[in-house]
Amino acid sequence: MIPRIEYYKFENLSEALSYLRNNPDSKIIAGGTDLIIQLRSKKINARKLLDISRINELKYIQDGSEYFRIGALVTIEELKKSKVIKDYAQPLWRAVNNFAVWQVRNTATIGGNICNASPAADTVPPLIVLEAKLKLQNIERVREVKIEEFFKGPGETIIERDEILTEIVIPKKNSLWRYSFIKLGRRHSHILSIVNVAVGLKMNNTKIEDAIIALGSVAPTPVRAKNVEEYLRERQATSKLIDEASREVVKDIKPISDVRASAEYRVEMSKLLVKKALNECLDIMK
């Protein structure tokens, strides 16, 4: 059952922001595919809901010279259908392609997937690897934070009570970067990840100049695999190196056991998926 709630809806951003300033105890709803379930199961208690789903100014995908900009209210299905995302944000496109069911994708937004702060959110590791920044706006100002600094724990972020996530900014990087994304679930589709992994490698011929690796569902927040990255940097890409580097991931993750998988299985799958994602990145170059 959903407890009785006061419901407010605005169609432009500034009205929503000024409402939020005066009602900081409001919970923001966009697609609602996570929030409604959490309200029903009482994981979240909210007395007031701010519906931002009709704020059309937050629905865009912009292809600029230095950045891609994604409005926070772009739905997962729109990302899936976007040629820009497919061509230039490969790991994100891969993630949204095996994301829930069609009905959920039609309603769920990228902003919601981020702000819900599930450790298993499939769009987040790709965005970390793409070095995305988040625009957080209140009635007075806009600030930008790196996505990997956004999360504090399951369901917890650094967003202030009067702020709305308005935009995801993805820098355009040079063509030496290669990306991959892999997720593992308990069945073949329509499933929450047990582990998901995104990898970005900057290659100079066969040398790895730089690496960014992020994993989901293996710690209280999505995490960078900095030990793996460090192991790879400035080294020649050999299968021996990939094997060794993948094992380093155990130093970067802190998985728990839950109804979906044991911590032990998550550790083993993290090693495997990092290895597979790295190999996939290198295969793209061949």
């Binding site: 589709s189 083993e268 495997l272």
Partner: protein, 782 residues
């Protein structure tokens, strides 16, 4: 062996069935007639229980226990009474009749009284004027329960340290036994013996539509619209709870969103709960279970622990099966006495085994109770039996198919209970044809190697399943047919359409017998106004329900023949009914329409209504000796299954399935095929992913986020089924049961294919990817 007892009073019925069994040509039977309910369902016109909008309707929800075992001290509405939409709280003290809904053993209350025995047990019903308010108010109800120590593990429960039902004196509900020969001696003397312990978990029915019932009180009694599987059972249980005569309780079947056995057990109980609320408030009440209520509080497939020993001789003949079967009943016995007996009787698999000792134990625990579910105790035991067959074959050095062929039941064989099966045993042929179609021998040689991190394997498994009730438990069917003056026909049956298509099949049978098009027939099913036809379970709906309709229709046909013979100038048996015409077989130009013939019957004193009662011949089972008659006939199933195992993650994909079924005459091949598909998919879920996770008796995953059923991406290519039509003499045109069959061998077939692919022997289901991965890791580390 035992022979069947035939009733003298049923002679005419036997001869009707015998006559039709000889028929060679059919107009409607064996055809892919379109489902009669297809258009209504596709267009959204079909009315489900929640679609009946009635003036003054009020809404009820169950109030559940959040304690697995305890003494119920009090239930009070608390602050709920302050709400304007609050109507009442219904508890066991409101019950005018008996607070007893146990199926076979009277151990289960409609609403808990004095004691609670599982987390999720219904304690009370909250009634409100709006559904949302009912949902809201149930959380305000004040429940006081004094917790008791609880027992969750059936093996632990066997110690009887904590009793789930003190009045019973033990947690062992009952024991079953099937015995022949000398199993102990045979185990010592067999050339090869294999011993393993197998486990199976719960399975939830996961039907699209959760449970719900609409009870409408009237001046003389109560009408209850409910998606059940046996209207007359619901009628009898509701009458017991209300203390009203059965005849005053009317049951109507709405469209149903899936049953699979779960609604057979639940709807009499939930119907009684709804009726009780309606009785108290004197208004129509719609009681619905939410998805979470359905998960926490409706019955599940019985978890099992099976210790299995079997032996064979050097030349590949089975010598002995010695098995102990423990079924976890949960808090109430429900159908456990019957699922367990079925498992015990089917424990050898469909093979000739000279020495058998099968012992079953049904055990109470403080968990959600067990219940009917497609296969009814049989999938668990066939999993064990058919895994054993592969293990024994390997030990002897025989191919698993060849080993099975050496031992398979054939006409004239004797079963586990020493029952002679004379005819309708097509499984030998089914095995051989599946092997050929699946290229068994070639794939057994080629597969089993790892290529790019993936390994393919092929496995097969057989199943048998007794049709109708077991032993001497009475079984009958009935139907009522009325031909209107204009020649249109209404058929009344208690058999329920739960999505399986049976009403279409039954209509085809009536069409065939009367020689009129399907469109002329209106089939009214699943209502208590029809004669008691028994339940739509045990794969008996089309077979027994069809037998009754065939008998009733044939009685009418004979009357039409008698009347028509006078105008057609021939003897009655020379009158043919086909395609809406009634004609002289020798001179087909001499004919009248069906309508004309009916009109004549009305004016010449022929009864145009008939019932078709049939009492199934049964034999005797000697409970003391553990042998004798088990079932009047068996259906048989063979599947070959190809899997691909991802050896790095443990994720198993079932890629291809070859089914073969021996279900006698196939009335509608399209419907038969869809039943086979559904059963295979449900079997794959049971084998690989469906898992009810419990912590202190509480279900941790009462939702589809974490209780996984297969999606379209998890489905294999299912080959065209092979139909081996081994006719059954008491079935309509020789039809046996079909709907459960394809699920039963799936756990073993998939497991045997996993074994072939990667060498690991699954001994528990669900065999999830994590379990498979851990087993491979353990093996690598050895």
């Amino acid at each position: 062996m035992s022979s069947l007892t035939f009733l003298e009073t049923q002679k005419d019925e036997y001869s009707i069935l015998e006559e039709w069994l000889k028929a060679k040509e059919f107009i409607y039977v064996g055809r892919e007639v379109r489902r009669i309910d297809a258009l209504d369902k596709v267009l959204g016109r079909a009315k489900y229980v929640e679609d009946f909008l009635i003036d003054g309707l009020v809404y009820a929800r169950i109030v559940k226990s959040s304690i697995a075992h305890g003494m119920l001290i009090s239930i009070r509405p608390g602050r709920a009474v302050e709400h304007p939409d609050y109507i009442t709280l219904v508890t066991s003290s409101d019950i005018p009749g008996m607070n007893q809904v146990g199926y076979y053993i009277p151990d289960q209350p409609a609403l808990a009284e004095k004691k609670v025995r599982f987390h999720g047990e219904p304690l009370a019903l909250i009634v409100a004027s709006k559904p949302r308010s009912a949902e809201e108010l149930r959380e305000l109800v004040e429940v006081e329960i004094k917790p008791l120590n609880a027992v969750f593990d059936p093996l632990e429960a066997l110690k009887d340290e904590i009793l789930v039902h003190e009045e019973h004196g033990s947690n062992i509900v009952l024991k079953t036994r099937v015995r022949k020969g000398d199993a102990l001696k045979a185990l010592q003397e067999s050339d090869y013996v294999v011993e393993n312990t197998y486990r199976a978990g719960h399975q939830d029915h996961a039907y699209l539509e959760t449970e719900g019932a609409l009870a409408i009180p009237n001046d003389t009694g109560m009408t209850i619209i409910l998606p059940g599987q046996y209207p007359h059972l619901a009628q009898s249980i509701i009458s017991r709870v209300l203390g009203a005569p059965q005849s005053k309780i009317r049951i109507i079947q709405p469209a149903i969103g899936g049953g699979f056995g779960g609604k057979d057990d639940m709807m009499p109980i939930i119907g009684a709960q709804a009726a009780l609320a309606a009785y108290k408030v004197r208004k129509p009440v719609l009681l619905t279970y939410t998805r979470e209520d359905s998960f926490t509080s409706h019955c599940k497939r019985d978890p099992a622990v099976i210790r299995y020993r079997s032996g064979a001789s050097k030349d590949g003949k089975l010598t002995v099966v010695d098995v102990e079967i423990i079924f976890d009943a949960g808090a109430y016995a429900n159908r456990g006495p019957f699922t367990l007996w079925r498992a015990t009787a089917h424990s050898t698999g469909p093979y000739e085994v000279p020495n058998v000792d099968a012992r079953g134990l049904l055990v109470y625990t403080n968990k959600v109770y067990q219940g009917s579910f497609r296969g009814f105790g049989n999938p668990q035991i066939q999993f064990a039996a058919e895994r054993q067959m592969d293990e024994l074959a390997e030990k002897i050095g025989l191919d698993p198919l060849e080993f099975r062929l050496k031992n398979i039941l054939r006409p004239g064989s004797k079963t586990s209970t020493d029952q002679l099966v004379e005819d309708s045993v097509g499984i030998g042929e089914a095995l051989a044809r599946v092997a050929e179609k699946s290229e068994w021998f070639k794939k057994r040689k080629v597969y089993g190697r790892i290529v790019d991190g993936k390994a393919r394997g092929i496995g097969l498994a057989c199943a048998w399943h007794g049709i109708s009730t077991s032993r001497g438990v009475p079984d009958w069917c009935n139907a009522y047919i009325n031909v209107a003056k204009d020649g249109s026909v209404t058929v009344y049956t208690g058999i329920v359409e739960i999505g399986q298509g049976t009403h279409t099949g039954l209509t085809q049978i009536a069409s065939e017998a009367l020689g009129i098009p399907v469109e002329k027939i209106n089939l009214v099913g699943g209502v208590s106004d029809a004669p008691d036809t028994g339940a739509t379970h045990g794969s008996r709906g089309l077979s027994l329900g069809g037998t009754a309709i065939l008998i009733a229709a044939t009685k009418i046909k004979k009357r039409v023949q008698r009347v028509a013979s006078r105008v057609l100038e021939c003897r009655p048996e020379e009158v043919e009914l086909k395609n809406g015409w009634v004609y002289n077989k020798g001179r087909p130009e001499k004919r009248i329409t069906w309508e004309e013939a009916v009109k004549r019957c009305y004016s010449e004193g022929e009864d145009m209504a008939a019932t078709g009662y049939f009492y199934m011949p049964k034999g005797k089972f000697d409970e003391d000796k553990g042998r004798g008659f088990a079932y009047v006939v068996f259906s048989y199933m063979v599947v070959a299954v190809e899997v691909e195992v991802d050896v790095e993650t443990g994720l198993t994909s079932v890629v291809r399935v070859w089914p073969a079924i021996c279900a006698g005459r196939i009335i509608n091949p399209k419907l038969a095929t869809t039943q086979i598909h559904g059963a295979i998919i449900q079997g794959i879920g049971y084998t690989l992913m469906e898992e009810v996770k419990l912590e202190d008796g509480r279900i941790l995953n009462p939702n589809f986020t974490d209780y996984l059923i297969p999606t379209i991406a998890d489905l294999p290519k299912i080959e065209e089924p092979i139909f081996v039509e081994d006719y059954f003499r008491f079935g309509p045109f020789g039809a046996k049961g079909l709907a459960e069959m394809a699920l039963i061998p799936i756990p073993a077939a998939v497991s045997n294919a996993i074994k072939h692919a990667v060498g690991i022997k699954p001994s528990e289901i669900p065999y999830t990817s994590e379990k498979l991965f851990k087993e491979m890791l353990r093996r690598r580390e050895k």
